[in-house]
Symmetry: D2
Subunit: 438 residues, 4 copies
């Protein structure tokens, strides 16, 4: 693959869909020179990317990248030429962080053993690509990722998936720099996952299929924050919602909201809409899909496209794929000549079929990122942050919330000194113990 980097008239590098869209979508962003790439092959809004490319920053992203293009963009984004690499990473999904860690590992391995990474050593199609990029980079500069690591002050990461990887690396001692987990700020996790998906699931369903949700039977696989938001949206829109869960506590929560809790097997041929929200894999398999009603809608808003068995579907003998419109495919099984509608090729349907979360939710998330980045930079020489994963302190989480109240016309009550003493909290907060669940 040979993608060419383009340049703006001012010499800034970019690779976006269509630079002429820059006016349409111009966001008033004033930034130091930063470099952007996408966190997902479908999640770029091309006009926004164009505006950034023209006016603000190096950006490598367009909607509908191939996986090769996606990782090429990620690598471009980390390549700061002479500068060696970024000072800080704002990560979303952990792919930039992953690339650096894998790169360092490969370089060290190569230095020790002379072995270069072998893309054929893995069955995972995406990891093959990662190894290819690292291998090709290794030839050009066998210290590239280690120089990057040296310069890097830290990363702040905002997804469940990315955070899980960070904790795994912390546990094995593999983490190469400090990380702030902003995913688990209340103003991130509840807002992005719960309220965000409550908004964007029906948005994606309606844009992709125009389906009337009222009266339909919907199965929500998983009842974590994402599942809670999805189930609430579907119930409120008039669907009958059935939840699948492995965790008895979440299952009991679903029941308390009047939702039925059953295994997928029990309801697969009865439901009209299936949504995966688990963050796990192999949730809806092709054998489930074969048993579904004609035109049942299958989509994923949880995490990777492996929540839905896309491979099983694509390789099912005799299956036919009819693209109704981009991101909306009907897959017809040969035995029954009936078909199911799969959204966004099994990837995140709110990104693929709608525009992701609304800006209010993203503002909560990004305010957490900004505060985390400021904190990392401020403490870069103090030694406060080791090569570990940290959550944002609660008073900063409360600050993010407070910054968003005015827009919604809310006014807080103030504690008196006597009341603050009575419940043993500072007047100005934080107001809750660390284990508080909201």
């Amino acid at each position: 693959m040979a993608l060419s980097v383009e340049k703006t008239s001012s010499g800034r590098e970019y690779k976006v869909k269509d630079l002429s869209q820059a006016d349409f979508g111009r966001l008033e962003i004033e930034l130091a020179e930063v470099r952007w790439c996408s966190c997902n092959i479908f999640s770029t809004q091309d006009h926004a990317a164009a505006a950034i490319a023209r006016d603000s920053a190096a950006v490598f992203a367009w909607k509908g990248e191939t996986l090769e293009e996606y990782w090429w963009c990620t690598e471009r984004c980390l390549d700061w030429g002479e500068a060696g690499g970024p000072d800080l990473i704002v990560d979303d999904g952990g792919d930039a962080t992953l690339l650096i860690h894998e790169g360092v590992k490969a370089e060290e391995d190569y230095e020790k053993t002379g072995k270069i990474p072998d893309p054929e050593s893995t069955d995972n199609a995406e990891f093959k690509i990662v190894l290819t990029i690292i291998r090709d980079g290794l030839k050009a500069d066998p210290k590239k990722y280690r120089k990057m690591k040296e310069r890097l002050v830290g990363v702040s990461e905002e997804t469940t998936t990315g955070v899980k990887r960070l904790y795994q690396m912390q546990e094995t001692g593999a983490l190469l720099f400090p990380a702030i987990n902003v995913n688990d700020s209340v103003t991130k996790s509840k807002f992005d996952n719960l309220y965000g998906c409550r908004h964007s699931l029906p948005d994606g369903l309606m844009r992709a299929t125009d389906v009337m949700i009222a009266g339909k039977v919907a199965v929500v696989c998983g009842y974590g924050d994402v599942g809670k938001g999805c189930a609430a949206a579907l119930k409120q829109a008039g669907a009958r919602v059935i939840v699948t869960e492995i965790d008895p506590i979440c299952a009991l929560q679903a029941l308390m909201e009047g939702l039925q809790v059953l295994p997928l097997e029990d309801v697969v041929s009865e439901a009209d809409i299936f949504v995966t929200t688990t963050g796990n894999k192999d949730i809806i398999m092709v054998d489930h899909m074969r048993k579904m009603k004609n035109n049942a809608i299958v989509c994923n808003i949880g995490h990777f496209d492996n929540e839905i068995d896309m491979l099983g579907l694509e390789t099912y003998p005799g299956v036919k794929r009819i693209t109704i419109k981009p991101q909306t495919d009907r897959w017809v099984f040969p035995e029954t000549n009936t078909g199911i509608i799969v959204l966004a090729e099994g990837r995140l349907m709110n990104l693929g079929c709608a525009t992701g979360h609304p800006s209010f939710v993203m503002s909560c998330s990004f305010t957490n990122q900004v505060i985390a980045q400021l904190e990392l930079w401020k403490e870069k020489s103090s030694g406060k942050y080791e090569k570990k994963v940290y959550v944002l302190p609660k008073h900063l989480d409360e600050k993010v919330a407070a910054l968003h109240l005015g827009k919604l016309g809310a006014k807080l009550t103030k504690l008196t000194k006597s009341q603050a003493d009575y419940i043993s909290v500072p007047i100005e907060g934080p107001y809750k113990p660390a284990h508080y669940r909201y």
Copy 2:
């Protein structure tokens, strides 16, 4: 204006956006030769129109017609050449019916007095166009609309606005042919207005603005069926909803759902989203709009674009219109340099910004239309229907509902003979008295 009619390879006339879209949007419609036009300048889905044009019927409609084009299409639709005109009209808004009635009036007036219609005799921009079309037609064939009337068996009409006109004409004796009011079937009025708008209001808001509804203050002007659907959708999505009402009964219903009832004046500077649903005019005036918060969203899902004072807005001294994207305009007032977002130019936002009602709702409405048309045709010579407005008998309304239950997996309970006698209804229905409100 000189629009040309185009022809398919099979010689069928049409005027649509892009015939090449016919494959994308092919609906499996098998129809006798019929002619279609749009009921609204924004409501055509071009790919569906293309499919019909290529495969099925004469169609004159595209999204984004001018008013001139719109009435040209309506006139084309009624022009059956030698045939003289249609046997039956399926009307939606009553414009085809209006054109015939105005045409007949003008022809009779002309025959009696030699006077031709004068577009300058009215201030109403749209009625000017109607008179122009009639005037031009009069020159070509001074009996055109009367021949049409003679042939016409009747009309079935599905909107509140269209039905109101029919009753007015019935009252003054001006109605020229039988009319069946399918708007007031329960399976039309509750489904199209209540459930349809509950679906399509948030759909339109999200597609046009990506606004997070949760946390916002929304004002719904009017709490009829449309208003009830809108208020329910907004409340469920997490907005705080305020209703304006003139009718104390509807106001009390709003209160029983936890909604605040206040005049627009009291809340105009506090709300984020304004929706008109009244079927009346002059609901949100430019003086209201000037007092709104920056980026307040103003839209109409009720009826004509005169619910919102678009004229007052357009002619406000110094106002600037910035088109964010088609159907989504920001209007900036010079005094404050703040602006409001107006959707679909004040016309029906669910048509202009989204795709209208979902097919399940439309199926309920259209099943009513089909049943009405069958009834009109069956009784065309029996004298059963005079030049009056009729509602569909309740057992047909129940039949429409019954036809839609299976799709949703519902199973009805059957009355025993003894139970049917006890409540004095036939076992097979109808089950409710005429005045029953559902």
Copy 3:
């Protein structure tokens, strides 16, 4: 049965539970001399009855009357001694109206044929009692009910059941005096049935059983206004609600709210709570009850106790009744030794187990009654009202609503003249056509 009428110190007749409760429950009622009885053996609040008896009016009512006592009270209530009977009846269920009609029929029959009513001629236990009372009255005064009828200006009736009887009598020409149907005022039917039951169903369930509604499966038999209120309350409290319906339109409405629609047979062994709301008979039979889960709750909020097969239950061989507390019985079946909980002996559970509708709802209903009574009295000599059933005119219905808005802090919007003309209604209302469904 020999019940004695008691007298207050001022000589006013009464029969209530405990006159000493008059202070507790004193309602500031200033009334002309009227006579009260209960409309249901369980629905009297004894302290309120005592207050009325002591201070205001003749009253014959206490909670927990036997059926004999109930009809004795009804007869007492109509017995105005020398005065011959009441001028007007405010009826609730139609029993006073029934008694007069049956009385007149029996007197006329007796006069013609000498035949006296025979309680043994009917299998219906309650009708036996009615015939006994009429028979005994006939001996004392063979013109009693006809004198009553002569004096009577009319009746206003507020229940579905009572109104249905009135229409049946109108149809057969048996109606003896004018009747105003206030049951079908919107401010009665929607408020009393829908909002009232939405309040009082969970109230009754909680007082009788303390059951956690969240997480339970509830079956609501019938989805009219009462069923809609019950289903909404149960759904909102976190139950999973299944509806049974005979009417496809109501069934489709249930589906649009996310409720499942199935016959009772399909869900009888799965649900925790069963509520009948149909106004019909034989809804839950003993054969259903035998198949229910242990401690399933069965109750009726629809109309008579024959919605539930109480006779079948009581006479089931070997069944055991364990009274947990008044109005809450556990019935244990011998085969399984499992039992079900029946509330209020199958009668209206919101009256039997809670305190009926809240005063706000009753105020809406009673305002309709008062307006109807004023109308009947005003027109008593005008001949405006024949021996037929009338609904209240819509502007009076709107007036009832308007009278209740202030209490809830609502402010109406006023139509301009130009708006009123545009939609062809008077500025001051009524605002809706007769067929409008709200």
Copy 4:
């Protein structure tokens, strides 16, 4: 005060309202010899207490104890005669734990300094009583509480208030024995606080006042779990809900559900129902109450009666208290002659006016208590638990939930080995990290 302990025929000590109620309320409890007292002066259900007293255990509790009686009961409960005291305490509010800690402190102080506790040393009326009891006990046995402490294996505590005290004692090193915090189990905190109050708030309101919640304006002070449950119940019942909050995160959560967030001052004269849920003091002061609408309802479901300024109310010059029925008082202010309705004298209204939480919720809480007690007993000699506060391990929390799923008909999904590995959890759980918020 000289209350006498009574004895059953088998010699078991008790003090309950009425032993003859034992049959009515007999719970099938088979217990080792334990001693019970109430955790609140209003929360005893007398028939349940009677059943326990007659059949099972020593019990000292009745509904409507004075504060003196309440602490007498607590002290009786801890007095095991020769045995010296209990092995384990199941605490609910921490009063038994408090008494022991205060007793030990006083005994040690007395031993060192000869000083006896002086009830006059405190302004707090309730603490005066505690000191009196300890003082009187000190004379009889100056080692009583220390012997108790020696025997005691530990306490499990289930309230927010009690747990806060425990953590404060842990912090100062004052904690005398191990404590398990079951309040912060998810199956306790979410269920007891959120779902429990969602059930019991409307229950208490309806039983105490029969108020129609629909259409009313309700203020919920505090939006923690209790406030969330209350606000949800009120909103679902049709109230318009306004929340007061000090914590910006909780405030933002309220906004996301469509609730208004304002200080009490802004809405005090507009609302119909006020509910305190804060766990803090001085929330609704007499100056607020004076400004409320006539017959506004004021109640507390949060914690102690000091959330509402009962003292300010009781001592307000010229105020009149009219008891409508037990636990429902109308307080009339002299200036306006208008009054407010205060429930349960400012104490927990769901205990005072209704029957507290439903058994399903209590079963979740008690299962946590039982599991905690078993754990404490099992580990009594192992040294696993120091004089600290512990939360239950997550797998036990999940076990509590799992034990309650079957009753509600739920079926869990099982992880495959490969899925469990993918998300790095054991197949059998626990499934979530410690910081997970549910």
